[in-house]
Amino acid sequence: MGRYSALSLLRGAFNGQSHWRPAWRHPDPKPAYDVVIIGGGGHGLATAYYLATRHGIRNVAVLEKGYIGGGNTGRNTTIVRSNYRQEPLSRMYETSLKLWQTLSDELNYNVMFSPRGALFLGHSDADMIRLAEKGDAMRNQGIDAELLSVDQLRKIEPLLDFSRDARFPIEGGMIQWRGGTARHDAVAWGFARGADAAGVNIIQRCEVTGIVREGNRAVAVETTRGRIAAGTIAICVAGHSGHVAAMAGLKLPVESQTLQAMVTEGVKPMVQTVVMSQSLHCYINQSDKGGIVFGGDPDNWPSYAQRGQPMTLEGAVAQGLALMPSLSRLRMLRCWAGVTDMSFDGAPIIGPTPVDGLWLNGGWCYGGFKATPGSGWLFADSLAHGRPHEIVEPFSLHRFERGAPVDENGVGPMPNHR
């Protein structure tokens, strides 16, 4: 694999840029691997990358039913942050954020991580108290947080509606400056290129149709390209964890729902940070290309369809326009939907399953993208050592029956009320 650099670009300028090669191979599947990872999204590719580069486990296959990064990795709103109250979540997302900070160098691939600030707005005294509490919790865990007055906010996001008769009057905010956005496709491609260079086989258009068990041990996967034996099988298919795990006879604490996002035409810089709200469910940021990216609520009913309903989009847009009325002049270019694993406490599920040799990384709700490098790092460590990494221990599959959920929002076992 040639290293990407300014020098190689310059050299390419003299030979018509003819030095470019495909960033990863397209191998045929071998009959057996040490580790088979189901799902070629960010999490699966990151897991393979860290397995190969940090743990010396290179006999690894990543099986993807479509093309890599074609699922939720390419369907999110690209937001990266680690502003959580509860320690298990803070530790995991902070592990991830620290990896984001050096990821472009690590992968020699520009993932366009842009720590522009993740801003939460408060619309009432109650909101501001909750934001202050959350900020305190974050700072106590060594994560940056800054409570902002309205005057400070005016300087950061002048286009917000600060009038007293606004639909959602703004009383202040809380910002994590190290949060921001990244380019989601580049994350999948960068990890794929790095994993491939380290010897991992990335096999696209290879759908897993069954998980073969011998006794209580998962030993192989049946795929559309034949049977592949595996020492360890790792499921990284968030959105589809339910029906993939069902192939091994498991029933998961997960309900699959649709989450939509949309983007407007490109305009000059007008939104500096990632704007979110303590009371609303609306995410606004501006992509590097200039488009305003909106996200909102999940559709709140089970679906695997990768298409949403207009009511939910309308709700997200209405909230966005109430916060930033000048957005009303923009034209929407595209909207899309991904399938999310809504877990029963809003936290992911990472660890072994009751089937020997079968590991699960899923249940990411709508918070999977920002966790991509951290999830891969921690999951690879867990697989390599055959035990859950200490940071992911609280996210075991069995936490519900033990009465130990990691419930950041305190909603209880109702994925559709989250």
Binding site: K251, L252, P253, S256, W301, P302, S303, A305, F400
Partner: protein, 87 residues
């Protein structure tokens, strides 16, 4: 948006309805603890048809059981809720 035929009101827009939970998550009153935990915290979540409980919240308020496909969203059966429609 789906058109949902309320057993009491006839066909109405989905906007009037709220999804509640799946039928397999209803905990029988005499359930053993393990059975209750499984019902509360796990779902079949098939990439196909499943039975769901919806409520005509912004209409008559009645509950209904809907059999719906999770990919095509096609509704194959709707019944008013009652002892005979629940496990």
């Amino acid at each position: 948006m789906l058109t949902i035929a309320c057993p009491h009101c006839g066909p109405r827009a989905q906007a009037e309805f709220v999804y509640e939970r799946t039928v397999d998550s209803v905990v029988p009153l005499d359930a053993e603890p393990a059975e209750a935990v499984a019902a509360l915290f796990t779902r079949a979540n098939p990439r196909g048809e499943d039975d769901e409980i919806w409520r005509h919240t912004h209409g008559c308020g009645g509950w209904l059981v809907m059999r719906r496909h999770r990919v095509t969203h096609a509704i194959s059966a709707i019944r008013a809720i009652g002892p005979e429609t629940l496990p």
